[in-house]
């Protein structure tokens, strides 16, 4: 029986999810509500659990790059980027400058399309479908750009240990520059459409707020933390890939609500477009990969700034062709605890936009072992290819 509140009524428990809990990914929320007000929340993840960490330990080095690329469809560059940087750190492989720039170009294009995707979904959650159509139309330009550069819209297969696989020709750089100039104007229009709209201000101002103290205490990362005024951006702090060559300012806001989340991400779209143009303009000449002999035993832990925030990979090698341990912590897992202060006291109608506001990605969050009929199962390459798991 549900607990009785101070007015003598039992609080209702409203389950949302695991299927499509305001997102196209599985997670289960259990809200305890008093009238329209949320008074308690519990969450359950793990519905997208796939065995990636274990599989990484059972595949030779060369195959693991492709496996980590498939952790998430949106962060399909930042996962392998972090992974290859860990191996290069262990083996002291010096990556050519041109490869570092190409890696950074892909990472920034990924951020642009991911933030545009978020802006569209956020618009849809509050019933502003025009914004969804508008941002996703512009996002297509970035996807086309990816296709032109790598041959693929989602799985770019760009990273390899010691460099990158795809070079960038002069004509490709020229076409990319004109697309980026177009996107710059489009980003201005989207920003204006979002920030000048009184409906968005009313639906987002003060909704799903997260104080700076809570963001620090709960270990929030990425745009979610920056929207609360925490100026932490891994690109600035760690200066990996080619980020050390450019002066970047972390984009922050104060209130930590839905509007602040939008402010940070829209500013980052503009910043990423500027940075990508700089990268194309200053692309160094030279090789794009170096060869390596063998990977010695060692360990490396490092971070990259995924579109959703700090992504951390811990990699350990043991001198064989196989990894001793690979641990991946996606930004969404770090941001999940901040759901609690965001949801408490909110109205039921605001649950979808608050759930979407941190830009969660449960594909990244639920990785590792496949469980079937209560038993552990290691997935073979054939099963992965045919999908008969």
């Amino acid at each position: 029986m549900a607990d009785v509140n101070e007015r003598g009524f039992a609080n209702l428990k409203v389950p949302i999810g695991p299927s499509h809990p305001a997102l196209e990914e599985p997670a289960r929320f259990l809200f305890e509500v008093e009238g329209e007000k949320v008074v308690n929340v519990d969450y359950e993840i793990g519905y997208n659990h796939r065995s990636i960490e274990r599989l990484c330990q059972e595949r030779p080095f060369s195959k693991v790059v492709y496996l980590v690329e498939r952790i998430c469809g949106i962060c399909s560059h930042t996962h392998p980027l972090n992974h290859v940087e860990r191996v290069e750190d262990i083996a002291d492989i010096e990556v050519p400058e041109r490869a570092k720039y190409i890696r950074t170009i892909y990472a920034e294009l990924e951020r642009i399309h991911s933030h545009m995707l978020w802006a569209g979904i956020a618009g849809e959650e509050i019933g502003y479908h025009t914004l969804f159509m508008y941002t996703w139309r512009e996002r297509e330009k970035v996807m086309d750009l990816f296709e032109m550069l790598s041959g693929n819209r989602i799985m770019h297969g760009c990273n390899r240990i010691g460099g990158v696989k795809w070079n960038i020709a002069e004509e490709q750089a020229k076409s990319a520059m004109s697309v980026l100039t177009y996107l710059d104007t489009a980003a201005d229009k989207i920003t204006k459409a979002v920030l000048k709209d009184s409906n968005i201000a009313e639906r987002g101002k003060g909704v799903g707020s997260l104080s700076r103290e809570d963001a620090v205490r709960l270990g929030a990362v990425g745009p979610n933390a920056r929207a609360s005024g925490v100026p932490e951006d891994t690109r600035v702090m760690c200066k990996y890939a080619a980020y050390g060559d450019f002066d970047l300012e972390p984009q922050t806001a104060k209130d930590g609500d839905v509007v602040a989340q939008a402010l940070v991400r829209l500013a980052e779209i503009k910043q990423s477009i500027w940075l990508t143009k700089e990268l194309f303009a200053n692309l160094p000449e030279g090789p794009i990969q170096v060869e390596y002999d063998e990977i010695p035993p060692g360990r490396s832990v490092g971070r990259t700034e995924a579109p959703r925030g700090e992504l951390i990979h811990y990699t350990e090698t043991n001198g064989t062709r196989f990894f001793e341990r690979i641990k991946i912590r996606s930004p969404t897992l770090a941001n999940i605890p901040s759901y609690v202060p965001k949801f408490l006291g909110c109205q039921i109608a605001d649950i979808p936009i608050i759930a979407a506001s941190i830009d969660p990605c449960f594909s990244c969050t639920d990785r590792m072992t496949v469980i079937k009929d209560g038993k552990r199962k290691i997935v073979s390459a054939r099963e992965l290819k045919t999908g008969r798991i």
């Binding site: 750190d89 709960l218 490092g302 641990k327 897992l333 639920d366 590792m368």
Partner: protein, 132 residues
């Protein structure tokens, strides 16, 4: 980090490379290490559990701006007990729940001990990331 970790906490082994530092300590010194890192303004980035064949290892990764400091604690197979650190670092809860489910580590005093990713009906006695 303004002060030296090795000077403040008894350390069995310390390695530094670039922005990364690794400190191997005994379980008895975990509290002192956490207090030191809290004072230095560290943020818990994540916790890694590892089956190192002869023993289990728990690695706490702390971020201080661009630096990452990793505290390594060894646990014996026959008594994989470790105290929760949620009192000092609240966000450790999800990472500790991962340790429980995927490596079968007993996190003592944890406020919520449900395994994070595993289904409620998971009955295999061997945790998924154990080697045996």
């Amino acid at each position: 980090m303004k002060r030296s970790f090795e000077d403040a906490v008894p350390t069995l082994e310390a390695n530094h490379k670039g922005l990364n530092s690794y400190y191997r300590i005994t379980l008895d010194n975990l509290d002192a290490a956490l207090s030191f890192l809290k004072e230095e303004g560290a943020r818990l980035s994540t916790i890694t559990g590892k089956d190192a064949r002869e023993h289990l290892e728990v690695l706490y990764h702390f971020a201080i701006w661009g630096e990452l400091h990793t505290i390594i604690v060894e646990l014996p197979y026959d008594k994989p007990d470790i105290p929760t650190i949620t009192e000092q670092f609240v966000n450790a809860l999800l990472y500790e729940r991962e340790l429980i489910g995927l490596l079968g580590i007993n996190v003592l005093g944890i406020p919520d001990s449900r395994p994070l990713e595993l289904p409620p009906k998971y009955t295999d006695p061997t945790p998924p990331l154990r080697r045996v």
